[in-house]
């Protein structure tokens, strides 16, 4: 039996002002705030954003997960994390699990949710959506992501070249997240698309060393961790079929 509620809180893309009013309110009442951490990456940008909104007595706890593809190790890590969450909820306390961006978009929250559902089927869980990095990049560069009957495909640079090519074959517009991974493969796939598209690379948006490049040829050989590509149609003034 658990009495508390777990809130998966999207804290937005990095700019502390892109937090929602709801996220701010939920963070202000959480008894325990969980961050996801790995041995290689123990700094939580999400916590930096959330901190100003936390209640004075809130406890902040790291949930450890290793960066590995070893299923047994992963299963054990998520099981330990879900047990700890269950323990907090069982004590009647509310908890917030922080995610950068949106908790339903390439977040670790899904793994925690499924494990918790197995260990504590009755646990109350709510998610608070947040603005994603690619929406912030589109806004910062005034680049509409999709209009009228166009589609938009979002892929991750951790996919391999074949997966990327298949995903982008039917895409009018695309976002490539984690573009620092597999950048040579991403370049080859985009070069083959050969459409009237505009490529904008955005790196470390909103941070002191933010950088922007327009055109695939202008993008450097290597990109830092927080980098994404927008691959967007050139549009006429009133669009293919009007507003």
């Amino acid at each position: 039996m658990t009495n508390g509620t777990l809130y998966a809180v999207g804290v937005g893309p990095g700019d502390p002002e892109l937090l929602t009013l709801k996220a701010a309110r939920i963070l202000g009442r959480a008894d325990v705030v969980f961050t996801a951490a790995s041995p290689k990456n123990d700094h939580s940008h999400a916590l930096d954003i959330a901190r100003a909104h936390l209640a004075p007595g809130a406890a902040v706890e790291r949930l450890e997960f290793p960066m590995t593809r070893d299923r047994a190790v992963l299963t054990a890590a998520w099981e330990a994390a879900a047990r700890r969450v269950r323990e907090v909820l069982a004590s009647g306390r509310d908890a917030a699990f922080l995610t950068l961006g949106d908790p339903m978009t390439y977040s670790t929250f899904g793994y925690l949710l499924r494990t918790l559902r197995r260990l504590a089927p009755d646990a109350r869980v709510e998610a608070v959506p947040g603005v994603t990095s690619y929406q912030a990049a589109a806004a910062a560069t005034l680049s509409p992501l999709c209009e009228a009957e166009e589609n938009l495909t979002i892929v991750s640079g951790i996919a391999d070249e074949e997966q990327l090519a298949a995903a982008l074959a039917g895409a009018d517009n695309a976002v490539v997240l984690k573009a620092y991974r597999n950048l040579p493969a991403i370049r080859r796939v985009l070069a083959r698309l050969d459409r009237g598209t505009r490529v904008v690379a955005v790196s470390r948006l909103g941070m002191a060393d933010e950088a922007l490049w327009t055109g695939l040829d202008a993008v450097p050989e290597k990109l830092p961790y927080f980098s994404l590509l927008l691959v967007l149609r050139e549009r006429e003034e009133n669009g293919p079929d009007g507003p």
Copy 2:
């Protein structure tokens, strides 16, 4: 010469609490607030959400645009809207253009932006991203949209059957916005995909008559205006390759 700034403000998917802190701040300082209206649809949900945050003296103005595919009519309407925005900016006032959801995601803002760029190339324009309807639907149903190397494709029901089929052929996960349009064609395309996917239909999320259906067979023949489909992979507890 224009001295004011035009802010394209995403007010989020409908829940007034899913507005960002930045949107609230910008709305609180805007001298003029523009809403997009058509003769058939003169009620602005975006204004309902924004109203609590407007400065006491803020002027609210409708920018009219007709629901037509007649290019000459559309061009004239956007030209009139952009001229009015230019006039406000030239007087040194700041203006906010409201959009439900996000201003870069299937918003009319792109058309206004391109017309304004032509009429007033020096106009200062900024966009404030917002949470989209499909992110809110994913959060409300605790349905992760994409994980690890999976992709996500967003399409609009205003696309025809061939466009939908092409867009969804390589999609691991999909969102169908405006699912009230072309629902029979959407059904046929999804039925042909024949993957281990879970379909969730969400209608009028956050409103008094909100409705949810799970499974394509459970979705009724007709859906109301504010309806979307989530078409998502079934996932194992720790995902295809772990977190």
